[in-house]
Symmetry: C2
């Protein structure tokens, strides 16, 4: 019996609603998409768009407002009902079609080809609990040749860092010493990446690019294991090497970028910190070498495990030029400053 | 085999550790206990103390520092290992004895009688997920006649309030309207008390005392159902009645107080908000009548369910004097101001 008092339950719990509020309230995230879509409104005019993992449907509404002729808002979860309501409330029923389905279960006959795929698929440290797999399935199945990916590139960066305030608290808790708890905390934090916000001045080096994905061409097998190359970066100052700070950026077709670097306004992704088991004092220009690998879990494909390996900078190929204090790099730097016209890297390869 | 590399796991997970950090970092909470214990150091000199639910053991260390001859730190969870380590690190092994047990399972023969019981037992809205039951068991079993309870009183307050910013967000989400989500949010928030921090100026009335427990005499049956009396409070200003803000205070034997009122510095308990299903506009001096009852869950004794009933101020006994605009209260107020020597309340009873 319809009592007239509608009690449709769009959200399963208050926490469920809060997750979406958290994402929507993340201004750098939501505005990056809005601004990029509106900046490319010429590309959206009368085009067919697919929004993969539409959630509340906000990106679909942005696309419709930017001039899309048709938007397929694909949402696998119960959020599809919310997206439908948002579409109705904003008067876009004739343009946006919310489809409650996994994109993997859609048939080409249902939709045909699309001009643009929009998706906010990123998880912590880009891949963890993200849904890039589904976006690539959608691309291969539905995107026209030379269609646009929104975003179209993704990059993962890392930088050795200090972790201030994490351990100091326990040294003097209102006059009580709990130093062993800080050791416990470090042990527990070393087990998996910590999601927390650092300040730019906590970084010890420039960000090192670990992964660069072109989303128009990336393939599923490439996503099984990302990073993993031995890398070395010189410290910009004296400090204590306590962890690796990992962040990402995605780039849109207009060249604009959404970055989770500690240099930029904080997002709900914050940064991912790999905490080292022990402090390592470092000095300015000292090279720090490591390997960081993100590997898709064999049982849970949306889970990425992060493996950190500490390396000896002697055994790792340095950038050319590199401002570290090792003799080879000093010599190369001196040679290059005397012969600015030379391309030593080009000659070596 | 002891490898020499100790890997005792004091905390089960990082989240487990963070809970205790959150409580310790709650300055109003931890300093209220520290300051009250130190202010009463004459009462602690050479006394036997029991700390019920010792957690990290910090209160036990405060008691030992204040001069206690013996402290029994009773902790039922795996945190007992942490407390032992804290005691050792601070050199109080000879004074503080950590006992890994429920206080309910201790025998009088093990401990004998104690002079003081210290406990931080309070949960959200005082009772929810708290452990006052165990403190009363400890008191009845172990506290000497005329022994001290620390804290010795607890009070629960409530005040009708406004809930700014809770719903406004959804009206314009970067140009997209999601008003139905704010309706959803209200529906979900109405289901159980929300733990969140209000500002003092969100309150519409003075705080109304709902519950006053003397911890030296309170009994377990009294804790089954708290509050529940019909009550009325006049508004201090015009506004929108959107919820009831609930907070508590505990008082120590030196008269000092730990309060979670929005008038004071925020604690990890924040305030508990009962959200009304609909806005109710109110005006200055308008009486708001309600009943709020905290009832122990019949299956889970640490859970308290909160029941709110909206009442007609006509049918509820008002305070004397009451500054609401109802005729009876205006008359009484006028009479009292003409006859300041009269005790009208005394005469009526």
């Amino acid at each position: 019996m319809d009592t007239g008092d509608s009690t449709d339950e769009y959200f399963k719990s208050y926490e469920d609603l809060e997750v979406h509020r958290l994402m929507l309230e993340d201004k750098p995230r939501t505005l990056a998409y809005k601004n990029a879509i509106f900046a490319c409104s010429d590309k959206f005019q009368n085009k067919i768009v697919m929004d993969v993992g539409a959630g509340t449907g906000i990106l679909s509404v942005f696309c419709a407002k930017a001039g899309a002729a048709k938007v397929y808002a694909i949402e696998a979860s119960h959020m599809a009902q919310v997206a439908k309501e948002v579409v109705r409330e904003n008067g876009f029923e004739s343009i946006i079609e919310v489809i409650h389905s996994k994109v993997e279960d859609l048939k080409s006959d249902d939709i045909g080809k699309v001009d643009i795929i929009v998706s906010e698929w990123m998880g912590f440290h880009l891949m963890h609990e993200g849904m890039l797999d589904s976006v690539l399935v959608a691309r291969d199945q539905f995107l026209k040749e030379n269609g646009l990916m929104f975003p179209n590139e993704a990059k993962l960066y890392a930088s050795p860092c200090e972790l201030p305030t994490v351990y100091d608290f326990w040294n003097d808790v209102y006059g009580v010493s709990m130093e062993f708890v800080s050791r416990e905390q470090r042990r527990l934090k070393s087990k998996k990446p910590n999601i927390s916000s650092l300040e730019a001045n906590n970084l010890l080096t420039d960000g090192k690019l670990l992964v660069w994905l072109d989303l128009s061409t990336a393939t599923m097998p490439e996503l099984l294991c990302l990073g993993g190359e031995s890398t070395v970066v010189p410290c910009n100052r004296n400090g204590i090497y306590q962890g690796i700070c990992v962040w990402f950026s995605v780039t849109f077709p207009d060249g604009s970028e959404l970055s989770t670097s500690p240099e930029y306004e904080s997002t709900h992704w914050k940064q991912s910190i790999v905490v080292l088991p022990h402090d390592i004092p470092v000095t300015k220009d000292e090279p720090v070498a490591f390997k960081l690998e993100l590997r898709k879990d064999s049982l849970k494909p949306r889970i990425y495990n992060v493996e950190y390996t500490q390396l000896d900078p002697e055994n790792v190929e340095h950038d050319i030029p590199c401002h570290c204090y090792m003799t080879k790099c000093l010599v190369i730097k001196a040679y290059l400053s005397e012969h600015p016209e030379e391309d030593i890297q080009g000659r070596e390869t």
